[in-house]
Symmetry: C2
Subunit: 303 residues, 2 copies
């Protein structure tokens, strides 16, 4: 089967998931935030790390995805996180995403057991791909050893690409380490394998290295500047723009990132409910948020 | 509400989960293995680490639990693992376990995010306890930093015990480190808080320190000897028995434990299907199992 769907490239955001006062996902606020990101040109990597994707039950994720699609968000601009500890869960989520026409899925390795073999990880991904059994599947691997503590090794990528060349579509590198991104670009980037850096701090380096873009948390709160940098990476102003984008991220990162981004959105929208993550994550203290707001304003942001 | 149910003490096993050729849980083999353990006096810590509990979807776990109960396994001898990354999943599993009369639940902390605050972990457990809202709940904390990479700190135990004194019922210490077990015994062991060592290697030390027993993988394959050690820990022969039990575990641990125990059961029952774990875990190579069998026989085991 051919796959004529346009490839997801450029800037994607692991979309923050708002919760209501009962700590249930809030579909209305979620949809509004997704629309804002889509309007800014950002692809929707829903259910990622910064989405608290693993703090959601499979059913909660299926419901949120269906709600977006029912309300006109284009499926081809969505790359849901579908990698769970149980391959049955990963297969169910991936199957739903592909059958609804999502542009891809971003898949964590199963992350409970540590020090598992490449054979075992290969078999996990292979089993999911076989169960989904849909040539339209574009599977992006998610390498985030600082959190998952289970890496995606070059050997694993090679084996998966050889076995499923039309399906293994790329990787998000959240190693936090440019040497790794550079290695991935050199060894794997192609017209059918997209390397995304996991933070816009590396966006210019990634684009200069032939990469496809960035899937980055801060696109939730700094979409225009990151999109502008992406659009103008070949211009003389690019380094200056990168420096400002990097400085902005560092402000958010002074607090736990998910809570700080949620807090800033809550301030921006004058909607305190937005500030609440789901446990085990906790909201920021108001005085901490005050300090972040002051720093953002000093950089010229009008939150 | 009073809770007259007998407390789970002594030896429990994180029951191995057999899979069929399609990698689905095999309820018939699971039931037979549970019956064998119950007959040997072992409590059933189903859905633990060595059960590949996190490689199972919530629905798969609910189905297996219901199957055991429908087939006469006594609920009060079951302590299912119910701690997931999503508190909605943890609450659903815990609610099912308590409403069916399980003797307790063994709860991992949410293990995707690392370096989370004690506040956030407290709120996770508190939220689950409140959602379940059943005074019959006995919640055993599961401390296994080598795998979960999210510890249960003494501060967290103190706060939970203060907030939910009738509910927080004990801890399984799988730190692999006697100093930690000893600290837990000294600070927390009581008539309403049971400290279990996570390996029978520490069983004699745990009992001599006033502890309640062990929740240990190798009870799947060495139940009689471990039960005998437990029953006779105050006798002069105890140290000798401990030495043999410890030596036996070390044989299994020469290979990845889950796969090696499954392989030995497959040999013992002449049932090759038993040997298969679910990815990302992989079965042992036959020649590796041969070597384990030789060593077990040299210790006098008739597998």
């Amino acid at each position: 089967m051919s796959n004529a769907m346009p490839r997801l490239r450029g800037i994607l955001s692991p979309v923050l998931t708002p919760f209501n006062s009962k700590l249930a996902p809030d579909p209305g606020r979620f949809l509004a935030h997704c629309r804002k990101l889509i309007d800014a040109g950002i692809g929707l990597a829903i259910f990622g790390t910064n989405s608290e994707g693993n703090s959601l039950a499979v059913e909660e994720k299926l419901d949120l995805l269906a709600y977006l699609l029912d309300n006109g968000i284009p499926a081809e601009r969505i790359m849901p996180g579908t990698g769970c500890c149980a391959l049955t869960d990963s297969a169910a989520l991936t199957n739903a995403a592909v059958s609804k026409g999502c542009g891809g899925v971003l898949m964590l390795p199963p992350f409970y057991y540590k020090d598992v073999s490449v054979d075992g990880l290969f078999k996990n991904f292979a089993e999911i791909i076989e169960r989904v059994g849909n040539a339209k599947l574009r599977l992006y691997l998610y390498h985030i050893p600082p959190v998952a503590a289970v890496p995606i090794s070059p050997e694993l990528i090679e084996r998966l690409l050889k076995a499923y060349p039309g399906t293994i579509a790329g990787i998000k590198d959240s190693s936090g380490d440019w040497d790794t991104t550079e290695m991935l670009l050199r060894n794997f980037q192609s017209s059918t394998f997209d390397v995304f850096c996991g933070s816009e701090v590396f966006l210019l380096q990634t684009m200069r290295g032939g990469g496809s873009g960035s899937i980055t948390a801060t696109a939730n709160t700094n979409a225009p500047a990151i999109m502008d940098l992406y659009a103008s990476w070949q211009t003389p102003e690019a380094d200056e723009k990168q420096a400002k984008v990097t400085a902005t991220r560092k402000i958010f990162a002074k607090l736990p990132m998910i809570a700080s981004m949620k807090a800033v959105i809550a301030r921006e929208l004058n909607d305190p409910a937005w500030a609440m993550p789901r446990p085990p994550l906790m909201p920021c203290e108001p005085n901490e948020v005050d300090a972040v707001m002051v720093e953002l304003k000093s950089l010229g942001y009008a939150y």
